[in-house]
Amino acid sequence: MTFWAALTFNFLIPRFMPGDPAATMLRRIQQLTGQAPTPDQIRSVRLFFGGARENLPAQYLHYLNDLVHFRFGLSLSEYPTPVSDLIAQALPWTLLLVGTTTIIAWIVGTALGAYMGWKPGSRFDAIFAPTTTFLHAIPTFWLSLVALWAFAFQLGWFPVSGAYDPDVPYQINNLWFLLSILKYGALPALTLIFIGFNGWLFTMRNVMVTTVSEDYVLLAKAKGLPTWRVLFKYAARNALLPNVTGLALAIGGILGGVLLTEVVFTYPGLGHRLYRATVDHDFPVMQTIFLLITLTVLIANLIADSIYVLLDPRTRDEA
């Protein structure tokens, strides 16, 4: 349902742009490449904006049909590279960056939050609570800039751009190549983790504070169970539930931060690609990336729902 709506959005937006976007577009291509557009190019731009030849429903069917067959068209700025090729190059990098940073940030944030919520008012809690509030409010892209300036330019600890060392052969089975991925990815990843974990920390802390005052935690203590057992088996396990659902729901928001970070670090992922496409008015690429992101978010939601059902027996009967 949502996916269908996203598809339709995607279809409609370029068709409702004011003026003659196709003409503007062609002019811009000309500026960009310095050559008059080829007839092929003109045709593909016209087709994209719907031209005047087909009526709207027919265009819509055409558009859906293309999608079903995974025909995403050709990139306009890097004509005539197929969009799918550009995406295929960028996707693994983003997956790598988003995957590792999200998981690490989630684990760090949840663990620290659980500890803070267990003893609210402790020194640890008192110091960390205001700090995380501030960290959480920092715009990711700005912190990326600062990090880039401080650690890459001033201190020279990390490379300034890219995802791997261009001097090392591009082979997945080459250890040096893998190490260079680590080296190039470290700074963007650290930045993302540094900002990302705060949100998890706060939700976890607050849920934990509430859970700790539940009667069953009190009773677990009355049972004489050791502290760590009460903490893990009774308090943290139950407090974890909202953070699990949150993980999936946050994927959409996390992507926003990652996209910007990629731009700052010139990291060759989807975000960078999307940014380039936006600047170059490469609409087919923009459309496809958007669809991909929507799809990811939807899948993440599905996964979170099923994990939640696994963790919480109360939802099982209703399902």
């Binding site: 009667d215 009355a222 502290t227």
Partner: protein, 327 residues
Amino acid sequence: MNEVLLEVDGLTVEYLSQTGSVKACADVSFTLHRGQILGVAGESGSGKSTLITALTRLQRPPAVTSAGRLVYHSSDGDKVDLLTLSERQLRAYRWSELAIVLQSAMDCLNPVMRLGDQFEDVLRYHDPQLTQRQAWERAEELVAMVGIGSDRLRSYPHELSGGMRQRSLIALALACDPDLIVMDEPTTAVDVVMQRQILAQLLQLQDRLGFAVVFVTHDLSLLLELADQIAIMYGGRIVELGSAREIYTAPKHPYTRGLRDSFPPLHGELTTMRGIPGSPPDLRTPPSGCAFHPRCADRLDACDQQIPLLRPVGRNDVACLLYEETP
């Protein structure tokens, strides 16, 4: 029967806040014997629930036990003040000597653990030799004692009915064969028929296993049938302490009398009854002197200045200026 199990002496619990402290329990003292049922009756704000958490040392900030002694007499003759133990030392007493049943069973059972696992958890911690199988068998025995089928051990708390949850909580309290069970309104959340059944089971089990009970409730009429001794609390203090029969037939404190007369009888003559006019005190701004004096029909001039102490009057202990101490 006359062996002392728990001596409570001058127990005081305060709730701290930025603006000062509120005494929810003040100078509470009583002695509980082995196998005895002590009923504590009181209305909202009387400090009865605070007493429960203080007895079990489960109070949470901002509540703090600021004075008193809780001397526990072990079956081997050792005496120990529970308030001086560290959390680690106390753990040895928890559940194996001193168990607790709380009001809302739904909130007391971990919603994401099967009922049987919650039994197994506590059984195997207190007896590490127990295998999983043995623990499970013991759990089956325990729930059978309160009339629950062993197949229910595989259920999650939300799949059980209210009465079943409350009974399984009692079974859970019995798991380590404690000498004392503290109960906080254990039947308030269930219906009268179920309440009757639970209390009947409780009395049978108590008869068989010989544990002592501190039973806290707002329902005095229930205690009159159930308890050996009854303590009446008002405004954080015990105002009267005596046997159930004395409390019913010859209440001394005006509050006790008023409370007894707040329950219309089910049988016998019906007359217009009054209850007690006024409202229970707000503990943040407690009345001076005896907390009951603003509602008391028999008050003396000194009642708003002097806090009366609990002392023997006739066969009861009463905290009221109306009475002379009987030597």
